[in-house]
Point group: C2
Chain length 368, copies 2
């Protein structure tokens, strides 16, 4: 039996009993007529979360990394240029994924902890007039920095590029409006601000993205992630064409998590994340922890703070885990050992979580 933890890292976040119970309902056949209606409902709930009317809005049957790969393999052909913002781990992963598609990534680098600067992206778009797409991470989970997706997507449109947006940590946690912002392709994850278990990646493709897909001269290199085939499976209603076997129980959980979001209201959920961030922020500052991201660009759902001099990263995290069953996140890559990432995502974004975390940090000797 594994210990029961409170999850305040970069994801997964706490999964409610309601969602776990939904997941443990009896498995039904993925081609059962009764399951068709369920799939339609799930797509509609995802449209609400993404704030979109895109018909092609569905969960990929694999984690967020596969959602990323889905966007790139469908929208890029070998030789295509794609301008990619890199301000943390996940922008870097995009570059790698694009390269493996045979595309030519043009990486635009930013300091970790800072947002993607539109001006620098515009320079890159000007310098690469043949680029077919521009990609960036809305909420950089490795640093806690938020970029301005609305401005960046408008920029992509101005230069006739498709926008590909990583919203893994955004969805359900901060303002995100796929239609209003003109996002062409977006992917997320089930285990962050939606608080479903990890394993699914909601994606949405707009009209322009689907047009590019239809115009391809070669099929996408991945059969499993081929959006034409996925669309026939998810979007075909009663005439659905078999593609793969959907992860039925994981979909039950995602459906329940999205129902919770719908009950709360998407904008109320955004506000809750913002409010609890302010609570946490005041408490962390009171014990002398500084955020690594400038105030304006901080993600409320992922709080990255510098580890004070003289404090041992691993020791504190072990103390939290062993004494409080509390998980917070370590730094990744160049930030390993230098920061903690404290998540207030989905069901983990409550005043009780803030209180527990601050008490536990104090108990571990973190104080001014």
């Amino acid at each position: 039996m594994l210990p029961k933890r409170t999850l305040m890292g970069p994801g997964p976040s706490d999964v409610s009993r309601e969602v776990l119970e939904a997941m443990s309902q009896p498995t039904i056949g993925h081609l059962d007529p009764a399951f068709v209606g369920f799939m339609d409902e799930l797509n509609e709930l995802l449209r609400l979360a993404f704030q979109t009317k895109n018909p092609i809005t569905l969960p990929i049957s694999a984690p967020g990394s596969a959602g990323m790969e889905c966007c790139f393999v469908n929208l890029l052909e070998p030789g295509d240029e794609v301008v990619i913002a890199v301000n943390g781990v996940f922008g870097g992963r995009m570059v790698e994924v694009a390269r493996r598609c045979g595309a030519t990534p043009i990486a635009v680098e930013f300091d970790w902890g800072t947002p993607v600067e539109p001006d620098k992206m515009e320079d890159a778009l000007k310098a690469h007039p043949d680029a077919v797409a521009m990609a960036f991470v809305h909420s950089e989970t490795s640093t806690g920095a938020r970029s301005d997706a609305e401005i960046l997507c408008a920029l992509a449109k101005k230069y006739d590029c498709l926008s590909i947006v990583d919203a893994v940590t955004s969805l359900g946690g901060i303002e995100l409006r796929v239609d209003d912002w003109g996002i062409d392709a977006i992917y997320s994850g089930s285990q962050k601000c939606l608080s479903a278990p990890p394993g699914l990646s909601p994606v949405s493709f707009g009209e322009q993205a689907m047009a590019k897909l239809k115009q391809r001269s070669t099929p996408p290199q991945s059969w499993f992630l081929d959006m034409n085939l996925l669309t026939g499976y998810w979007g075909g209603g009663a005439k659905r064409a078999y593609h793969h076997t959907a992860p039925v129980n994981a979909l039950y959980a995602l459906h329940a998590a999205l129902e919770i979001l719908k009950r709360e209201g998407v904008e109320n959920a955004w506000k809750r994340h913002a409010d609890n961030h302010q609570l946490l922020r005041a408490e962390l500052e009171s014990i002398g922890l500084d955020f690594i991201v400038a105030e304006e660009y901080r993600l409320p759902q992922l709080n990255s703070v510098s580890i004070p001099d003289g404090i041992d990263d691993a020791e504190v995290r072990s103390h939290l885990l062993n004494e409080f069953n509390l998980e917070i996140g370590a730094g990744l890559g160049p930030l390993a050992g230098k920061i903690w990432r404290i998540g207030l995502m989905g069901a983990s974004s409550t005043p009780e979580h803030v209180a527990l975390c601050v008490s536990a940090l104090k108990s571990a000797g973190v104080s001014r």
Copy 2:
């Protein structure tokens, strides 16, 4: 609320309450130290199911189709020739996946419902001396035919080819010995004879497969399915390198399902599947249903029978679903409307399932 069904199609099969309860345990962080031991246990249980000592034995975080893609993208490089047996839907899918890897598939066709003939495969291997791999489906889920994996893998070795084996419907249901038979790479699914929910694909790579992977001149086209990266994540023990976020709760379920297999004993499970097949077979023959596969090659876990003249496929399946909450499988592709596929997989392989199915068919008017 979705209806509760008895699942006797081509998968998913019935998932026991024990497995569903395991799945609904609280989600833990995928990098939690306590989770490392759990992952190691899971890999060891998979080795038992596969009858292998391969260190690289792990569940891909996506359904069987992704497991297939994982084998092909890792083991084939652009231009590589691969001889692929096609005796049903899934052999055909292999050809498509290989093509999308930039490899050159050499499809060897067999009548649907028949097994892969070693002689014809040997002819193809002789005719294509540069082929680097040979692939086939052990248990063709679209027809119910079993091929002789031991002989086919020996043949691959004779011609210096890696063997890639689809064991989606085999694992836990019929004899399968990865080490004794010299299988180089194999993939399966969680939702067939293991009776876990759909969504995971156990894979195992042998020494030769790993050697080919190390010798690649280009990285695999899929980042998500890159076995080098997956190995660092799954095989690294305490030094595990973050790759993607594992689908924690789905892994709980797979672990519980494998524990059940271990308790029963792998060979006992094979025998149970064989015994219940004989029960079903006698009953089906008594109501005039004929198997489409010759006796010697029948899969005990997937019974394909011809729909008698004058019987309406859809009507019968609706009757079973509406009156008995019982799912059986329809035919795929050229067999649509012509056959039923009756699964006796995992927890669905019991005398009670046999009795229910036969009663329901009789009630639907299927009788001699």
